[in-house]
Symmetry: C2
Subunit: 426 residues, 2 copies
């Protein structure tokens, strides 16, 4: 649709929705704010059921006349029986129907996401999709003038294509209904909830971003805890929990076994796990017996975390240790430290990366316990390193492994995963 | 030196240190543990003053005979007037003298680092050097049998080539002397201290890594606070603080101004800053007056953080806002959100990255206030994106800007920077 052009990017242009031949399911509007009212009228007459109002500069500006225009828009849509998404939103990404953005993955997956912010939507989809997460539907809903956080929670809760729900909200239009909807959703699938604008300054920013009335961090966290939602506070944590719920499976407790990497990494992994609330169970007797057989000289030196650099003179490697931990009933969770870019000093060693990825895949396939792998995927300087890191990441993602950039983030994600399943009594 | 070979990698091989013609300053040993004693004897006779004992498998194994061997090694070295670094260490990286590792930067810089763990040393040098940090000397000192944490703190404190000191310790051989040395160092230059193995499980891991007796997290933190050292708890945070002290300059307080990025990023930046203990001062009247002149329709919509997406219809951009904040006495610190990989949907937009980097460099040059920039440098999927991110990162690093991968980490680093300068009364 275009006021004048007869063709736009190779598609026919129409001056009005009403000129389009045949029925129209959905309209995406990016006309200026002042023209949206007429557009919605035309949509009502044409029988269009839904309009995504990409157009911004309504109530979020803080100007009374524009807030008033927004209210008139809502009344007009209700009179015409048209549902609105937005205004001030990026709309819908639904790869299975081809409603997508150019460089976003074209395949679907079981993760549903909705967000009041278009920018946060993009950041979250980008971060999670690099790590193998694919989406059923992603909805950016902006000022939530009509379709709001409660409608969307009810939708995703019922949606058979969605197994995990991620949410970024700045405010709640219907707080009570929203929290009831979360509670019902949590009974069926994990809900990861990020409340933006929970600080005082954040609340001011949210008002000027999506005209949201926020609430204090404490109130939101208390409410969220009552619903069983998993609360996060950054894009990184949101992506981590989508990865964890998508790829880790059910957790039965907090006892973690850790292997891979050298001695310093073992120490920092232990610190990170304990800080996150996980329990580093020492090597159990039955497992120690196996280690003794395979490493008679230094078996008693191996602990949890298992320092990979002390396995040198044995026929054991990190994979063996993780597989033994996977079989031991003393461990609920596993963390595997993969090689890091800094550990490679020669391009010829590129195969070591690939082999580490293969071992990780074997470990993950050998158990139903949640396994988090740690791999730093900061952009390296050298082209050959970029390629090695990129290929390993893709391989791990395609095999459905949960990979985290730091051991601190892996430990926190596993702790939240374990808490979710403990509270669900499973 | 080699028991049999007459040539190793093109260099002459000798069966003993004593066969080498001319004086020898320093010896790096990677002979097996059982052979180190004789090596040290030979070094003593040759007049070698220092030996780096790369060799491991001493006290850290937990085996009494090997702990005993380690003690005999120490006695032998003392008798022969030879100083030992290690055992179980990676040794020294000193680019100005050519003592380096193949893929590490060959240029020097004013950051000194020492670490009980070789792996942590590699991780920290890798992470910090990608962000432009260069080192005076880096020392990995392992089991600290002879040269210990206190010796090294005294050395770096006096070293005129070192302006910032980073430390990773697992235990203290001479706790009191170490803390006295930190206090003296802090009077001259910032000290960033990371104590590994501060948790119970971490303490066990540290014992088997470097035979260290650790201590509780609380005791260490209390002691460190008394010295004025900046305490960190991960490789990421260590790198962040080296970047902050190297590139940010002195901070005069906690009041932060934030600009760049869209509305969601403004909300999350506000939350992250407030959580970190920074104060988001609203736009002051004098600055608001300038905004009104340049953006008559929506000047009152601009807040702190300044949402970049609302500047569209004005002649203002993120650089203008940051420069106004830099001039306003109401702000002590600045954060600039740079474009993110996800914000680019077309290779043709590669120039937008480069322009954002140029604007950031202009901002940093226009002020003495600490400015932290936020740029996600996760490895992108597409080759053109990898190149764009890599080039921007290099450009910013070469210009001496402080860049952080997330706004949460930028805010925490600025808070610690401000606290350091407040406690130093400057």
């Amino acid at each position: 649709m275009h006021p004048r052009a007869e063709e736009v990017l190779g598609k026919p242009g129409f001056a009005s929705v009403m000129d389009i031949p045949g029925p129209v399911d959905h309209v995406i509007s990016s006309v200026p704010a002042a023209a949206v009212l007429e557009l919605v009228d035309h949509c009502a007459r044409k029988g269009v059921r839904g309009v995504t109002v990409y157009t911004a500069r309504f109530g979020e500006t803080g100007h009374a006349d524009l807030a008033d225009l927004e209210q008139r828009l809502l009344r007009r849509a209700r009179e015409g029986n048209v549902r609105l998404l937005g205004p001030n939103c990026m709309g819908i990404y639904c790869p299975s129907t081809g409603l997508s953005f150019k460089h976003w993955p074209h395949e679907s997956g079981p993760v549903g996401l909705y967000s009041q912010s278009g920018g946060i939507t993009m950041e979250a989809v980008y971060a999670a999709s690099l790590r193998g997460v694919r989406f059923s539907k992603v909805v950016s809903y902006g000022n939530s003038l009509d379709i709001n956080e409660a409608d969307l929670m009810e939708y995703f809760s019922e949606d058979p294509e969605t197994e995990v729900i991620g949410v970024y909200v700045e405010g709640a239009r219907e707080g009570e209904r929203f929290f009831r909807a979360i509670r019902r959703a949590v009974a069926r699938k994990p809900v990861v909830l990020w409340k933006g604008g929970a600080s005082q300054a954040g609340g001011r920013a949210a008002a000027s971003h999506t005209a949201s009335l926020t609430g204090s961090r404490e109130v939101w966290h208390a409410l969220a805890r009552q619903t069983g939602a998993v609360v996060v506070e950054s894009v990184e944590e949101l992506a981590d929990m989508l990865v964890a719920f998508r790829f880790c499976g059910r957790a039965t407790g907090y006892r973690v076994g850790v292997a891979g990497g050298g001695g310093g990494r073992a120490v920092l992994a232990a610190d990170a796990c304990e800080r996150a609330g996980l329990v580093l169970e020492p090597i159990p007797p039955a497992m120690a017996k196996v280690l003794e057989q395979r490493y008679p000289t230094f078996w008693d030196w191996i602990g949890n975390p298992a320092d990979g650099s002390i396995l040198g003179a044995s026929d054991l490697n990190d994979k063996d240790i993780l597989e033994l931990m996977a079989k031991a009933p003393e461990y609920d969770l596993l963390i595997g430290n993969l090689s890091e870019p800094w550990s490679m000093d020669r391009p010829e060693e590129i195969d070591r990366w690939s082999e580490a990825a293969d071992r990780a895949i074997d470990v993950a396939r050998s158990t139903h316990k949640p396994v988090a792998f740690v791999m730093d995927d900061t952009l390296p300087e050298a082209a050959w390193e970029r390629q090695a890191v990129g290929e390993s990441r893709r391989k791990l993602a395609e095999a459905g492994l949960a990979v985290f950039p730091t051991v601190t983030r892996a430990a926190r994600a596993l702790q939240k995963l374990a808490t979710y399943y403990r509270e669900r009594g499973s």
